[in-house]
Symmetry: C2
Subunit: 327 residues, 2 copies
């Protein structure tokens, strides 16, 4: 059926071992032989079978990626970063959505291992981290962090602080923080940080809870302005929630940013096309993914690295949901 290394060997008049050696640039091979083999490979359009290779070597060219939900626009950006970086080095991605469920995470993890993946990049909660700790292949956490494992993430404390500082600076006196689910650590951290910063500023603070998803946010947010009719500044736990809030604000006749100012978190693509453009705290999602991939690759190549916790900077992106300084 498919062309095997022995077909190539026969065509080139050598043994399979020799073909393998020229293929991998290992061991010796006479220049003439090398040429003959290369010709045969080309002539037969031979592509080595990764599965056989993987079986013997006990390592594949596959990396497993576990994300909560690729349907949430923050995660595709991460995934693209990972994938693009990986492709450069010839690695491929097996992907699994966990919906934050431990059971699904374990399920994917198991099958990743069964497929001899050489590394795993995962975005899972600390409470679920046990399953990742005793693997004998490299693991890098992405977006989430756990003390004992390498991780790539954005500076949530700085982000929360930045958002809080901005909204105070911009003159808001009664600020509502929309808090996402506390189990999601980065989301919780940005909340805590905003809250502390706001308290130090001596401003009135409301806390309002919301889900993170499109559906959830849109529902959660409906009662926001009933409950806090006088808020003039809102710190949302992510951009989706922020957009839902903008919607609700406009629906209830509030002008943005004149009556309410809103700051999101993440800087997903939506921010720049909604009206008004959403000011937000940018997490460099694509770069985070790329960085995680880079670290995994280094680890796969046996480069011993310290237990890296790679914290990437966030930044405030000013658009139109906040006032210009000086207004």
């Amino acid at each position: 059926m498919a062309i095997t290394i022995r077909d190539v060997a026969k065509e080139a008049g050598v043994s399979a071992a020799t073909v393998s050696r020229v293929l991998n640039n290992s061991g010796y091979a006479h220049e003439d032989t090398r040429k003959a083999v290369l010709d045969a490979i080309h002539k037969l359009n031979y592509k080595p079978n990764e599965v056989a290779r993987s079986l013997f070597k006990q390592k594949s060219k596959l990396i497993g990626l576990i994300l909560p939900d690729i349907t949430n626009p923050f995660f595709p950006a991460l995934a693209r970063g990972v994938e693009d970086q990986l492709r450069e080095e010839g690695y491929r991605l097996i992907i699994g959505n966990s919906d934050e469920h431990l059971e699904q995470e374990i399920d994917y993890l198991d099958t990743f291992i069964q497929h001899n993946v050489v590394g795993i990049i995962a975005s899972v909660n600390e409470a679920h981290s046990d399953m990742l700790k005793n693997l004998n292949i490299p693991v890098v956490l992405l977006d989430r962090t756990i003390e004992s494992l390498p991780a790539v993430y954005a500076d949530q404390f700085e982000g929360g602080k930045l958002a809080a500082r901005k909204i105070v600076e911009l003159g808001c006196k009664e600020i509502t923080i929309i808090r996402g689910p506390v189990e999601v650590k980065p989301v919780y951290e940005r909340f805590v940080s905003s809250f502390q910063t706001l308290r130090q500023a001596g401003v009135k603070i409301n806390v309002f809870d919301s889900k993170l998803s499109f559906q959830g946010a849109s529902n959660s947010v409906k009662t926001l302005f009933d409950k806090y009719p006088n808020t003039n500044g809102i710190l949302a736990c992510n951009d989706i929630v922020a957009v839902a809030v903008m919607n609700e604000a406009q629906r209830t006749g509030r002008r943005i940013p004149e009556d309410v100012q809103i700051i999101g978190f993440d800087d997903i693509s939506i921010c720049e096309i909604v009206y008004p453009g959403l000011s937000t705290i940018r997490q460099p999602a694509y770069e985070m993914g790329a960085k995680a991939a880079e670290i995994i690759i280094k680890k796969v190549k046996q480069e011993v690295l310290p237990n890296i916790h790679c914290k990437l900077p966030v930044q405030f992106v000013e658009r139109e949901s906040t006032r210009k300084v000086g207004d």
Copy 2:
């Protein structure tokens, strides 16, 4: 290192062949033996190595998925549909983004084959379809269609017609169709269909070009209202473009839907959280993905199917970017 089938065999006091038989429920195995083997498997926490299995069987539990760009929110919905359906049956997904580039498509396709994937789901342009035609594993096209290959897609003609009919019905007299890149077949088809329908309705038609991406749409659309200041109805080639248009409309002081009505295409999640909510033509993306997965699985299981072209229905989803009938 990892537990192998021979470890289990030794533990259970039988041969590897016997373990394999109970594992696969093939051939005979005495009830007592079966129990002993199962116990051993459980005791050692044995998980069979998919790679070894795949090498011998010449087929894995892997399906390859090629999408243009997972960063465009329409595609994650497809991917989730595929993945969820596949997981049910124990298949895993290798994923690759092509950015519509033939070179990358081929690259991913090659490595998918090298990994013994049993099937491929792909969203590629007709012009690139040659590479898919002579594979000896099942292929299903998703979102895009090619005459000679099975495909799952939404009814673009109906969608285009529906949007056009609605916008006319809703009283628009000068309608602008935002046309996406003509190489992308479904996008082109919905354009043609809308255009024809509009022409039959005898209404004034403008055609305006735009990219499909967030960045692209946002730029393209900036000159829309300079060029056609009197349009009162807009048919966008997708929801991203539609939202960008809404932005531009509001920025230039137009009220939606009083001054301009806008209809998008796709029904991505954003539609329901922007303000005003975006009326759109819904493609059942998740279901499309699931259906494609279902077909691939059937084909993998040797069920001979006709050259299925599975056309899923679209529907108009009314939100607030169009007027209520009767207004």
